[in-house]
Symmetry: C2
Subunit: 766 residues, 2 copies
């Protein structure tokens, strides 16, 4: 392959480095109005009285609307494809503004003013009186008998599910040993560079145009339509470049309100941008999940049965609903073979920020639990953790009993071998001395598997349109959304590969416009290189076939004897040049009788999925006295199938591992226990990884060739963030003998755990 | 038909009336640089020396470029489709900037500055020294033996052509009477509300983006590529709404220079906008043409042979070259039958503004000559001018011997009957008294024919893309350019008609973007409703077929028994409702197995043409003492086939007739005889029709059904402007007995002619 596999420079590299790339903020109209949301200062309760008179009277205020003024359509916000069957639709549990307060910062009213400052001043003039209830900040609180319902009639349960494969009770009876563990993960936020931002206006015929920083333009269009109760075709969504999303922009957060607000001011453009403080609490967070694992094992380390029960804390609104818990229960069974499996999951409303999609979509949580649990078992069995895992891996040919999907490629064993080699696992294990002192070193590892896209849970539809220019170059239009992950580049490489032209002859249209862009549900689930890639390949194949048909007419050589290489029509085999592509393209435009420019406009419904695999190997030094973990060496090894662009693949791993380490060690959104007020919803107090916290990140790739992928490729966007946390946890265990069962493994928590374990007794005591 | 034929409101009515429509000027980037052109102050000569040092040194000036700095590719500017055969390509006779001065205001250098004022100041600091030659302001001067060549090696002739049908010499011998006449038309300018304007910048990968007020975005892209010598795919042209064009924006005037200038400043956005004064001389004008007619007639009024020789004055550059002269010679033969025809045409370079396309494309000139000549013959034969014309009309079935095109519809006889009736021709003729006094009334009429599009001279390719939304509404994308003529509206009506949905469910994408919009050569030749309409119908038929196929799957009723009416799938016959369209559309998006949104992306090469016909009937009162003509009554009657939107049709007739009357009575661009300096290139001194000069304009339509048109329609955009001038000329003749043989029929010219005819002798003498 000429382009697939090439370390091509990102097609948006220069434009981004030079500051030319246009984001929502750069596209703002002149004479824009500014909207601000009036947010609750309680976490749970009810608005008894609201008075907006003073705010309305402030000069420069164009309008103030409250929950009484908005359409009473409930709508969902999750970036999932629509389903015709209402039973499979997302939970529609919110209005544009609310009288019932379900979290601190809930959206009660909105102000539209001629400038931002006036809007902010007006917020302070709104008077509100609440009936306040004690906030239910944890799933346990919300599930207590008699707990007040955050959404009426739900008992605070969004959904429960369970499944069973084989006979777990029998398996446990046959096991030699039963292991049980409990783990908890923390609430974290995506912290994309660009906050949520949108502006909306009405066009001449009353259609609403929303320009938004969204990962899911076509879904956003649908949800704006649902929220406003108008036909979806009367909404147009435009997505320029994005300053990151990581899943938080896979929810439709600001767009429906912005769209409604422009209707209040007769279609004038209205901007609605969240501050960083608002983004933390009013966009989405990653679910804290509480796991209980139970596993039956033979003495030789063979897994025979496993059970996982989880409670996922979803916050004040359903967002992605039970899907993340569902993904946990699926991921649970897809790495290791066992005779019987049982899962039960519950997703719960609480008075905290709504949890939604975040890089990994449940996998960082469940893999933290699962791989910590596996480590505990291996150590208890006195087996090498790698050997223990290798013994139990699913193999190629594994057919998932619930999805029906067959595994055609699985490079996990090779990934582990590579990880061991890179970190010199055996040498270090062999040469290590008995741990002593307050600074101790340890080795840890953890594995993961991760699906590519969402099939068969959701529809996996993608579109691509290619238009060939007179010089043989092409425009490539996709509905897939470039959100910083590099999809524009890899999709361009694919088009160049299949058509047979240099990469610089592919001009990708980066902006998505739902009026024009082919339909694609957007950027999520590490799906784009795979699902949208299939659509690009299909369109490119159509274009190539049309070129060769024209060439046949022009040369009298049969199309099947011709090929297209580096913008030349050549003879097969041998590659003798026959015609420049530009000559064929020109003919297609200007042939007096049969002129018809070469184009393809395709849609592809990808009814496939493939598991990507990988692992993290890490060596840490734990300074127990101050609870500090230093990463000495770290390797993430990935089987993501064929790499379309190794340079971008490395970038994904860098970013994902860094995010995974923040999750492991530092990040957690905290709330005042009594009021539910967020305590650290800003970048000073929320401990995001900085460049100084970030170690050298090593990596390796095992390039299997996945036959269901367009070019042998599988997921890579999310996987790197999944396994660092349990690997670090297992390394800390290796170093200190202390089992950490909760994230983040922050200095305070480690200090407490080490103290509890007696490791920090009297100075010099151990 | 439900939508075709409906007086639907323009889809852009509200946006334009409310000032929301975006024109080039509204889309300007922040931090734009401004360019101004340094223009010659002589009309003919050569730049001996140019010094830009002082201009470059002015603070705020970013760059100054001269003819020495531009790429040395010659390029054409005409909005014609490209032709692969170089012999059929447009004349490429200019560079971006020139050392040879060919007209007053020729483009020698350009300044780029941080603001407009600085750019203007810098122009004044450029020093230039010329070698000046006497300007050749008329074709006669340029053709004189030994005249200096404006373009080397041309003898000042762009092209000559001639053809002969039958044996004219024999026909003249067989004729009872031979008539000879000579006519001259004037140089006029389009005077679109919006001047020529563009801005250009380079995107991240070095592609050049031009946002332009152009009628021909796809052709503009090609010409920018040719001018800069870069592959055409590296250029992107965006066309927002236009403030009119009338053919002047069917030339690529400012775009290539704007595109080049952004490359000089490393891709920063550069704006290049012509002032009104510049637009008059540096865009395009309508050709002054000198005609000589010779016609042989039988005593009974039967035409037997005709000859026309013309010399067309093209100005300093070729622009559309000989095409306008060619159109004159074609139009000449297409109204009246005769045994033999002979035509000879010459297009000549002169030191005047370049002449190009202007509404009517040669027809206003040739029809002024032809219909004045016909009137002279009828009067000489003492025949009623209408009877004389009726006797000689081509009939349905006429096959043009040179184009091979067959006439399927010809409503000209009915048009004349309608005109006579509306103006009460026979009554007025019968009741009139012998003319006397200085104010005299007269009746006049003139006919025209006008092709629809340019086939078979040029390629007539058009594209349309339709995307159906989940609610059954559609986006319609066309490459056809809305330039104020209403194409967005009529093409939307067509889509609504063929698909079977209400007009408000068609969302047309008005902006053209050559990266995305289907290929279409643009707005000219009254082609869009016909040629682009065929593409829209083809796309709409495909969409409808796909909808009915889905409906068949969903209902088990055969697709051929189903129809789509008003957004419902219904049974044929009877119209019983089966399924709402929105339900089908939703299925196409979300069917778990076969999801594929309903779209069509088509190209259509229209190898057809159809003659539109019509006539003007007018009654005037001539105040001979002051040379003033008052239009008492006027009717333009059109056979444009089926009217897609009668309201828009009426608007076209209003605008066209008004333009035709300005051409008849007032407009003429004048030059200083000695220097070639324009004398009235501004809206104060150039006598454009004002609303006070504009009479009530009556009209009528004869709706034939043209089988080659998508909905029975033929040209209507340009035709209304063609026949008013000769009709007024013939009415003046009727009133005064004086034959005017030159345009405009301004007070000064009329006064001189009346005086020469002795009508203004001693007061009361006649």
């Amino acid at each position: 392959m000429n382009h697939v596999g090439d370390r091509a420079q990102r097609v948006d590299a220069v434009v981004k480095v030079c500051g030319q790339a246009k984001y929502v903020d750069d596209l703002m109209e002149r004479d824009m109005l500014y909207a601000k949301v009036f947010r609750s200062t309680i976490a749970h309760g009810w608005v008894k009285r609201i008075d907006t008179k003073k705010a309305k009277a402030l000069p420069g205020v164009e309008a103030v609307v409250t929950f009484e003024d908005v359409p009473q359509h409930t709508f969902p916000t999750a970036g999932h494809p629509y389903h015709i069957d209402p039973k499979h639709q997302d939970v529609a549990d919110r209005n544009l503004l609310t009288r019932s307060v379900r979290l601190w910062g809930d959206e009660i009213a909105a102000v539209i003013a001629r400038d931002e400052l006036t809007a902010q001043k007006a917020l302070r003039l709104i008077e509100v009186e609440y009936e306040e209830y004690p906030p239910l900040l944890r799933a346990e609180d919300a599930l207590k008998e008699g707990a007040r319902e955050i959404h009426k009639g739900t008992k605070n349960i969004i959904k429960k599910s369970e499944y069973q494969l084989g006979d777990p009770e029998k398996a446990f009876q046959e096991a030699d040993i039963i292991f049980e563990d409990e783990f908890r993960t923390s609430m974290v936020q995506h912290c994309a560079m660009e906050n949520h931002s949108a502006y909306a206006y009405m066009d001449s015929r009353g259609r609403i145009v929303v320009c938004s920083s969204t990962q899911i333009p076509h879904i956003c269009r649908r949800i704006v339509g649902q929220a406003l109760g108008i036909p979806w075709g009367r909404v147009r969504v435009i997505k320029p470049y994005l300053g990151g999303g990581f899943g938080s922009k896979q929810d439709v957060v600001v767009e429906p309100l912005a769209a409604f607000l422009t209707t209040v001011v007769h279609g004038r453009p209205v901007k609605l941008e969240l501050s960083r403080e608002e983004t933390f609490i009013a966009s989405r967070v990653r679910h804290p999940v509480h796991f209980r694992f139970k596993t039956g094992v033979k003495k030789d380390g063979t897994l025979v049965g496993a059970e996982m029960r989880l409670i996922s804390q979803n916050g004040g609104y359903a967002s992605h609903g039970h899907s993340i818990a569902g993904k946990c229960t699926t991921t649970f069974r897809q790495i290791y073979q066992q005779h019987a499996v049982k899962c039960a999951a519950t997703t719960v409303y609480t008075n905290t920020p709504a949890a939604g999609a975040m890089r990994g979509y449940g996998a960082p949580q469940v893999i933290f639990g699962l791989e910590s649990h596996m480590e505990n078992i291996a150590r208890e069995l006195a087996m090498d953790p790698v050997e223990f895992r290798l013994k139990n891996l699913h193999q190629v040919g594994y057919a998932d009993p619930l999805t029906g999907l067959v595994t055609y490629t699985n490079g996990l064993a090779e990934c582990m071998a590579k990880g061991k080699e890179l970190i010199r696992w055996d040498d270090k294990k062999a040469s290590r001395e008995k741990p002593a002192g307050l600074k101790r070193r340890g080795l840890g590892m953890a594995c993961f598997s991760y699906g590519t896209g969402t099939y068969p849970v959701s529809l996996e539809i993608a579109g691509a349109r290619i238009v060939m220019n007179q010089d043989g170059s092409v425009q490539l239009q996709v509905g897939a959304a470039e959100i910083g992950q590099g999809s524009d580049t890899v999709l361009s490489q694919m088009a160049a590969e299949t058509i047979g032209i240099p990469l610089e002859m592919v001009h990708i249209v980066s902006e998505q416009d739902t009026d024009i862009s082919p339909f694609d549900t957007g950027a999520y689930a590490s799906r784009q290189t795979y699902v949208s890639g299939l659509a690009v390949r299909k369109a490119a194949e159509e274009v190539k076939a049309k070129v060769l048909n024209w060439a046949q007419r022009m040369t009298d050589l049969p199309a099947e004897d011709l090929d297209l290489v580096d913008a030349w029509v050549v003879k097969k085999p041998g590659g003798e040049k026959v015609l420049p592509l530009a000559r064929v393209a020109l003919e297609s435009y200007y042939h007096p009788v049969d002129a018809a420019p070469i184009t393809a406009d395709v849609s592809n419904n990808a009814r496939v999925n493939a598991l990507a695999y990988g692992c993290t190997f890490v060596e840490v030094e734990v300074d127990m006295a101050i609870g500090k973990v230093e990463i000495l060496e770290l390797y993430n090894i990935h089987d993501s199938g064929k790499l379309i662009n190794p340079q971008l693949a490395e970038g994904q791993v860098h970013g994902g591992v860094s995010m995974g380490l923040g999750y492991a060690l530092f990040e957690q959104l905290l709330f005042d226990e009594k009021t539910g007020k967020p305590l650290n919803n800003n970048l000073l107090d929320y401990k995001l990884m900085t460049v100084l916290d970030t170690p050298e990140m090593g990596m390796g790739f095992v390039e299997t060739y996945e036959p269901t992928g367009p070019y042998g490729n599988k997921a890579l966007g999310e996987p790197p963030t999944v396994s660092p946390a349990p690997a670090v946890r297992n390394a800390i265990l290796d170093a200190t003998g202390v089992k950490i069962d909760e994230l983040p493994m922050s200095p305070q928590r480690l200090f407490e755990k080490f103290k509890e374990a007696g490791l920090l007794g009297e100075p010099g005591s151990k």
